[in-house]
């Protein structure tokens, strides 16, 4: 369930505009390929908060 946050009306309208976009299988493949090029850096949370996640 996507719940993009914003504090600006124009961003809300942009976000809602996403409902009008239908991604094709090719779109998704290209997005996956591009995302795979990104090196993930850093942790999910600051250390103290991570310690509270039970993992």
């Amino acid at each position: 369930m996507p719940i993009p946050g914003t504090t600006k009306l124009r961003r809300l309208d942009e976000n809602l505009g996403a409902l009008n976009i239908q991604l094709t299988a090719d779109d998704l493949r290209r997005i996956d390929d591009a995302a795979a090029q990104i090196t993930i850096e850093g942790a999910r949370y600051p250390e103290a908060v991570e310690a509270m996640t039970g993992r």
Binding site: L12, N15, L19, G42, A48, V49, G54
Partner: protein, 164 residues
């Protein structure tokens, strides 16, 4: 507005929800309350029926904001909230015997009741059922030095706030 069903038998909500955390918490100083109420109501006008908040956002004030904004349309919208933190404890400095997470059924019951009254009341009750604890300030990281800005840009803005 397209819709989705939450879970298998849950309520039907708009295909896109609105995350409300940044209106009060985590992304810098809280935004103007009246402007944010206007934004939430603008979302309702556009067909959004799903709104996300949590007890820790503020703490408390974001639930109250969302509750106040949605009170006039409470029968038409769904609010998601979460609870389980002890908002009195600074997670950076948890002392022996303290619980930063509090998942005891009695705690969950208490905070769930408090969240319900925050989210459902037209005039916020200021969480009076909770007693003194709820009137004390909550402690949250002000600026995590270890905060990975790419992974989670929001956390640097966490700040100490007072529950009303």
């Amino acid at each position: 507005m397209r819709t989705r069903t939450l879970g298998k038998n849950g309520p039907e909500v708009s295909a896109l929800g609105l995350g409300c955390m940044g209106m009060s918490f985590s992304y810098g100083p809280p935004k103007d309350k009246h402007a944010m109420i206007g934004l939430i109501r603008a979302a309702v006008e556009r067909g959004v029926t799903f709104f996300d908040t949590a007890e820790v956002y503020g703490p408390f004030v974001n639930e109250e904001l969302v509750g106040e904004a949605l009170a006039p349309v409470r029968d038409r919208v769904v609010i998601a909230t979460k609870f389980g933190f002890n908002t009195q404890i600074d997670p950076r400095n948890v002392k022996a015997g303290e619980r930063a997470l509090d998942s005891r059924p009695e705690h969950i019951r208490e905070v769930a009741e408090a969240s319900l009254s925050s989210c459902l009341a037209a005039s916020p009750p200021r969480r009076t059922p909770l007693g003194p604890r709820s009137r004390s300030p909550g402690y949250w990281p002000k600026s995590g030095g270890s905060c990975p800005s790419r992974a989670r840009p929001s956390c640097a803005g966490w700040t100490r706030t007072s529950a009303r």
